[in-house]
Symmetry: C2
Subunit: 208 residues, 2 copies
């Protein structure tokens, strides 16, 4: 798959690396071209780089991996997003990094869908720590789950493939507005981590 | 432990049964005395019954297992709750049973703590389905986690014991205000269940 990554932080670089290693054509976009170039070089596997606009023109699937505070400006510099699949992994964290700044009756994912009406928005990868993305989904034989939600069935198939390809167990949580509960889940994970469990933890959905 | 259960619904009766079977002295309270009497009789193991006030006078630990809409009236009919440990398993569900009516900047647990200032409130058992409480925590060798939070260390020890005694893995999520993220987690579970997974599912915290 042609995957664009907007943002060169821990989550963007971590997922980009894993996808590139697993045969996907990754294109890193940054507002600072040198950052994207350096990241693409480090990761190798034919990773490309450029501006946000170049990334979005190239990719079928675009991971939004910038902070929530940068979202408005970022989306404006993307060019057309019509028909693109946007993976939103953003959590609207407060300054303490353990609370939410929006929620309950809306979500980042729904706000992005309003701002990019021609795109197919999927919430995913927001409740997995960057450490777990880097170290992998296997916890002594148990697989970490990757919870996602969205309103477009085709986009969900693509995201499910991007989840499975790096070893996580996809869990389809339903409609995009379920992001209202996926974003707090990330904050729960952060609170548990900071309460002595550390960041090498993940949620798993048990079924029987 | 002397455990009071306020409410005779699925969660209250399910947890009461499991605790009674595991050696705890359970006292069922209901606004309709006949309901509590019938439940105590069905469960056996020396289970007692009475009014809300009698339940609270008897018990050290009290499970609040009534709907959020009934909470104000219920707390008023409890008598003194000073020094008691209150386990809040309530989710403020919307009419569709898959959304929240409060959240993000407060939680049921924090509201209850305000209404019962002498009590020690712990949020627990709100993100486990009544089916899983009934059938047990074991999922083919993996244990379902029971996420809880609160501000009183002694109360946490008691609740941790009530979690472990029925086979769940206790996960201390931190301060009571973390309930802002535990309540959405329950709604996430409901949405996943209704999205084709069914209610025989549970969250597990993976650690390595």
């Amino acid at each position: 798959m042609k995957v664009g990554i907007l943002g060169t932080g821990h989550i963007g670089s971590g997922l980009g690396k894993r996808w590139a290693e697993n045969g996907h054509q990754v294109f890193f976009g940054s507002r600072v071209p040198e950052k994207a170039a350096a990241l693409a070089k480090t990761i190798g596997h034919g990773a490309l780089f450029g501006t946000y606009q170049q990334t979005c023109a190239f990719a079928e699937v675009i991971l939004l991996a910038f902070p929530w505070s940068a979202c408005d400006a970022a989306l404006q510099s993307c060019g057309s997003l019509t028909g693109k699949i946007l993976i939103d992994c953003i959590n609207p964290l407060g300054n303490d990094y353990r609370s939410l700044t929006i929620g309950y009756s809306t979500s980042v994912a729904e706000e992005i869908a309003k701002q990019a009406p021609g795109a197919k928005v999927i919430k995913a990868f927001n409740s997995i720590s960057d450490k777990v993305i880097r170290l992998g989904a296997d916890f002594n034989g148990q697989k970490a789950s990757a919870f996602y939600c969205g309103d477009d069935a085709e986009a969900k198939v693509a995201v499910q493939e991007l989840i499975s390809t790096i070893g996580f167990e996809p869990v389809d949580c339903g409609a995009l507005k379920t992001a209202r509960y996926l974003e707090p889940m990330a904050v729960l994970l952060i609170n548990v981590a900071m309460n002595g469990y550390g960041s090498n933890i993940a949620f798993n959905l048990l079924q029987r």
